[in-house]
Symmetry: C2
Subunit: 284 residues, 2 copies
């Protein structure tokens, strides 16, 4: 018999992230049961078909009753509510975490709704994803070599935080701890700004010239194919930080516009060089 | 014995594009000899090693003397000069073409320098490429299912235009004819604008947060790793069109900024929806 690290983990919202996590955990044999929670039976069936969950339920209270760990992977606007429900219905030692791409609004909502239970909530955000969504696109290697950011609060028991770190390390991710505010600030630049920029570009290029686009256009705009509702939520929840990043982008754009208007090859060379140096430093 | 379509094709500048073309032509057995022309012996050696050329020369006049077709694949600022030299030293029936990503300035330069010979110059631009450069990155399938745009002028003999169309169709591309001006106008939107946007973004995100970037940031900024010199040339040669596209992008960006500043979820939803619809129409 294998020794599992966890007997039961509940995954609320087994979409791309949740189902990929379930798959990875089950394949590595670190958990006995993975209970999926979704509103629709069809989602649960798909998650089961791809080996992401062992059990499914449309009732969160029932599904989390025996869980040692609950991971809320719903769209970001539903995370706080999912976390609250999980805190309410889990055993008092159970740890609740999430995978929301914005952290401060979630932490605030959870603490103001249930301050007594909130100490068991360890917020997290794995930096992984795709422009595709749903359990059918789940991949057990989605988190391999990715970064999982935890934004614990001082009230979290050390052990609870470590358990969530182990969860993400188990599926191949590196973990790092940040404050929720600092997380949201960095994500505004490295994730939300690129999304907006890709969408602005996709919205600018006239569709009648689609035939004349190449891989460059496709790469640069790929994010724009992301789920609309999810991104409305992210951008409104993190609006102050996104605004700052966007304003900085606009300043930089003005420099480019000036250089192009003046046909200033030297200025363009400097701007292109700086961009290339920075991009090269990130790797492919 | 195989029947070749061409006995000798000269490729001036066997970099990524030129070497990929040579590879594709030789592997398909449609040409007997491919003569590479480069300033440096090391480039010719690399091109030979990857099977992109059968012969190499650092002298353009000598290399093109027996060519039926010359393809000038140098960086865009050197194309007009390469074309002129090729027109001067090829036999009077030989056709000269290019692969430059900007067309009008090249056509004008060639016609004003050698109006008598210019009828044999059929300008072209295969929509293929990579952020990597040089013959070592050559791929025989680089043009497969891509679009090759020809911008012939009315003085070009029909047969010469058809020969260049056959060239690109031979290596898997579809071909289309446009005026040089129309080509440059469309490329400003579908190629040059995405390049600038990727570079603006790469220049905006603070390097200290590189660890917090994911595949989204990488896709969106990939173009920024392109060759600086090449892009200075493209952006200055096509500056009037690029300026127009960039100004339109800036207008669109202002709409986004307004929506973010007002935390206007509805406006954001509309903008995201429009971007998604357009991006989805392009395919992956």
């Amino acid at each position: 018999m294998t020794q599992h690290r966890w007997n039961t983990i509940a995954i609320v919202g087994p979409g791309l992230i949740g189902a990929s996590l379930g798959q990875a955990l089950l394949r590595r044999g670190v958990v006995g049961r993975v209970v999926g929670v979704a509103r629709r039976r069809s989602t649960l069936n798909q998650a089961r078909q791809v080996g992401a969950i062992t059990h499914g339920s449309t009732s969160l209270p029932r599904a989390v009753r025996e869980a040692e760990l609950v991971v809320v992977c719903t769209p970001v606007a539903a995370v706080a509510q999912g976390v609250q429900a999980a805190l309410e219905h889990t055993p008092p030692q159970a740890v609740v975490t999430d995978a929301g791409s914005v952290k401060e609004p979630i932490v605030q909502a959870v603490w103001s709704a249930c301050p007594k239970q909130a100490t068991r909530f360890v917020p997290a955000h794995p930096l992984a994803g795709s422009h595709q969504s749903g359990p059918r696109h789940a991949r057990a290697d989605l988190f391999q070599d990715r970064l999982a950011i935890l934004t614990p609060v001082r009230q979290n028991p050390a052990e609870a935080v470590e358990q969530v770190e182990r969860l993400w390390q188990c599926v191949g991710a590196r973990t790092v701890r940040l404050s929720a505010r600092e997380h949201d600030r960095r994500m505004a630049w490295t994730s939300h700004l690129p999304h907006v920029v890709a969408a602005v570009l996709a919205g600018t290029v006239p569709p009648r010239w689609n035939d004349f686009t190449g891989t460059g256009y496709r790469d640069t705009t790929r994010l724009a194919a992301g789920e609309v509702e999810l991104w409305v939520q992210i951008l409104t929840e993190n609006a102050p930080q996104v605004q700052r990043a966007l304003e900085q982008f606009e300043k930089q754009l003005q420099q480019w516009l000036r250089a192009v208007r003046r046909r200033d090859a030297r200025a363009l060379g400097r701007l292109l060089q700086q961009a290339k140096r920075r991009r090269d430093a990130v790797g492919n």
